[in-house]
Amino acid sequence: MADRRGALVSAASDARVLFGAAVLLALIVAAAAAPLLAPHDPLEQDLLASFLPPAFQAGADPVFPLGTDSLGRDLLSRLIYGARVALTVALVAASLAALLGTALGLIAGYFGGWVDAVISRLVDVWMAFPPVLLSIVLVAIIGAGLHSVIIAIVIIDWTRFCRVVRAEVLVQREQDYVASAVTIGLGRWRILWHEILPNLLPLLLVLITLEMGIAIIVEAILSFVGLSVSSDQATWGGLIQEGRLYIHQAWWIMVLPMACIIVSVLGLNALGDGLRRTLDPVMRR
């Protein structure tokens, strides 16, 4: 036990991990407690108070700390509710993509042969599509909405996991500990599950954190194009799209949600990077 705690302590003392964990925690709190945190209803319009600047600028109204948008909706509240959408997409889409991709990657890498050939070819076909265009087309077909966004991300991004996991399994499969597991009579599934998979966990953890960042971006792109959740619901991408129209008169409508995305992705990347360095027992040496 001492060792595992040691790993966590050393992970926690890594500045990147701390920063990333703080960002993730902030996202979770914002998403979970949105109704409590948000000063206004994100949909409440006040046309008299449209285009109010954030509190630190002249002409601001302290009721709207980060200003308002074109319809006079409170930006802070919209950003907080936007975090809800972003985090949901990030968590669900990344986990599902990881599940699908890892399963296929494990099977392809460990069993090889025609299974591997089929899966690898499937990945090749998938990789031949531009992900952004494909997700836009997919959502256009399935119809806008949170579910569609998640489905589109899973359908597109499982290959990221599949490729990396398959390559890593090929490496691990040749290690002598696998041969040793055969000599003590362990079955193939058991070796895959108990021997190889634990060695992939740090890698998977890193990939999932990175994928969460990607999912946030994809959701923003889809909202930006107007294909994500319904347009009256607050999303970061939707805000950016709206802000772009008023860029000359109210820069904050675009810049603030952009900052939210950038900080979230930076945090998740830092978390993944830090975990990679601290969690791997061999690298930790």
Partner: protein, 522 residues
């Protein structure tokens, strides 16, 4: 207990995989016969590529043999399915070469060593782990550690503990000490010997190190390219090897004892056993005395052999204008009187890239010692032939050192070894040159400079016009001298006359002296 007959193994060779279709199979084991009794230990030795590791893995059915039979405890396991093999695996275990790779980095030591027990449904009781660890000389406190926290020797002990956990009958140990230091290696070897004795293990011990095999094994099998070269009891095989390959292998082992002859014995891969001198091609040379005689021939021969640059030195460079023009771009004329210290120093500075110095300049007044003319002729010969050449050696020694050693060629004469009374004073100056050459050679050995004495007989030059034939063409002298440079020889006697006299001097120097004395016209 274990018996293999004509065991064959072929694995796909991915490096030769064609565009389409499967990779061609490479024969790894070509019909191995092997038997092992309970409690016996067999060493398998071979060099890389001999198939020894594949043999170990095939014996444990990690690979499926492509031919032959393999019997374990009387049962043919060569083609047994994995499911049918599983019950047998409890009685045959393996210790791997690299414990870093063979121990799962995600599992604690306790888990690793008890894994075989629960894999075979045995009860794991609380004191199993400490008992196992103590059995292999590890403190039970290590049970909670991960493999990467252990030293190499400790990891290999864990590998051994895991292999003996099920109390197997057969253990295959594959190069288990090859990555370890001598002191750790000795510990692991004694541990293995003890375990083998106490547990009655049959052991297949695979190693490239014959000495290590000798410590552990009763019998030994020598493998090369997938075939058994020789097999026999250790006492016999190590003291009286029958197969030439075994003998070569044994002789190649450097035993820790001083034996100056060992290093020069043994086979040489390449037949071409020429000396290792200096390659003229690409080198920068300086030749003195290039206005006549052998000098121009040196320059031509150097150019012919691809010297990068040749400084042709002469007292009067107008005389070598033609030569410089003939090899424009390669040959550079240098004005140099070797008896003038200022000019010598200037040459060493100007020609700072010289790697090969050929001290060819010399004079010959063709005088005896007592009778004719004055002492001045003798003094002049000494001044040029001895002191001038020495001055060049002194000036250029640091140049050669800076350029990686290089070589000095001093043009002497066979008369350096014996006097021709017609040219007594010349002989004296050349003899002084020879001694000087030997001294310089000794002093410059440390900086890697080769110093060569060239001692031809009579050469067809204007200096020797008074001498009777036979006289050799000057070009031959240059060829012989440069051959010597390239072959790293230190003394060379170009021409039949010089060779003959050198042989005579080696046999009966007095007779040679008498013969030459007889040439003097009475």
């Amino acid at each position: 207990m274990l018996e293999a007959r004509n065991l064959r193994l072929a694995l796909p060779d991915r490096s030769r995989k064609p565009l389409f279709g499967p990779a061609p199979m490479t024969e790894i084991l070509r019909g191995i016969d092997l038997e092992l009794a309970a409690g016996e230990s067999l060493g398998v030795v071979g060099e890389s590529g001999s198939g020894k590791t594949s043999l170990g893995r095939t014996l444990l059915r990690l690979y499926r043999p492509t031919g032959g039979s393999l019997r374990f405890e009387g049962r043919d396991i060569a083609t047994l399915a994995e499911a049918d093999l599983r019950p047998l695996r409890a009685r045959m275990q393996m210790i791997f070469q690299d414990p870093m790779s063979s121990l799962n980095p995600r599992q604690r030591i306790a888990e690793i060593v008890t894994q075989p027990l629960w894999a075979f449904g045995r009860d794991v009781v609380a004191d199993h782990v400490p008992a196992l660890l103590e059995r292999v000389g590890l403190t039970p406190a290590l049970a909670a550690r991960y493999p990467h926290e252990l030293s190499g020797g400790q990891r290999q002990r864990v590998g051994i503990a895991r292999a003996i956990a099920l109390q197997p009958k057969l253990v295959v140990a594959d190069e288990i000490v090859s990555g370890l230091d001598v002191s750790t290696q000795a510990q692991i070897l004694s541990l293995l010997a003890n375990l083998k004795r106490d547990l009655g293990l049959a052991l297949v011990f695979i190693s490239h190190d014959l000495s290590v095999v000798r410590v552990v094994c009763d019998r030994v099998m020598v493998l090369s390219r997938g075939e058994v070269m020789e097999t026999g009891p250790c006492e016999r095989l190590f003291s009286a090897p029958r197969h030439p390959y075994t003998r070569a292998l044994l002789e190649a082992v450097p035993l820790p004892e001083v034996d100056p002859d060992w290093i020069h014995g043994g086979p040489i891969e390449q037949e071409d056993n020429r000396g290792i001198g200096m390659q003229i091609k690409g080198t920068v040379a300086l030749v003195t005395g290039t206005s006549r005689g052998i000098g121009p021939e040196y320059v031509r021969e150097l150019a012919k052999r691809g010297a990068a640059k040749v400084y042709a030195a002469a007292r009067d460079t107008t005389q070598i204008a033609d030569l410089a023009a003939e090899f424009a771009g390669t040959v550079e004329a240098v004005e140099l009187d070797i008896t003038d210290p200022v000019q010598v120093a200037a040459a060493a500075e100007r020609c700072a890239d010289v790697q090969l110095l050929i001290n060819n300049a010399g004079i010959n007044h063709n005088t005896g010692l007592i009778a004719p003319t004055s002492l001045d002729n003798a003094r002049a010969e000494m001044e040029t032939n001895y002191l001038g050449t020495l001055a060049m050696c002194r000036a250029f020694a640091p140049v050669l050192q800076a350029n990686g050693g290089g070589a000095i060629v001093n043009m002497l004469s066979i008369l350096a070894r014996v006097c021709l009374p017609l040219m007594g004073s010349l002989s004296a100056s050349k003899a002084a040159g020879l001694m000087m050459t030997q001294g310089v050679r000794a002093e410059l050995a440390g900086q890697g400079t080769t110093v060569i004495a060239v001692m031809p007989g009579a050469v067809e030059t204007d200096m020797t016009r008074d001498l009777p034939p036979p006289k050799m063409p000057p070009a031959d002298v240059a060829v012989a001298a440069l051959d010597a440079v390239e072959q790293g020889e230190e003394e060379v006697y170009p021409g039949d006359m010089a060779t003959g006299m050198a042989q005579g001097l080696a046999g009966d120097p007095k007779a040679v002296e008498k013969e030459l004395a007889g040439i003097l016209p009475q």
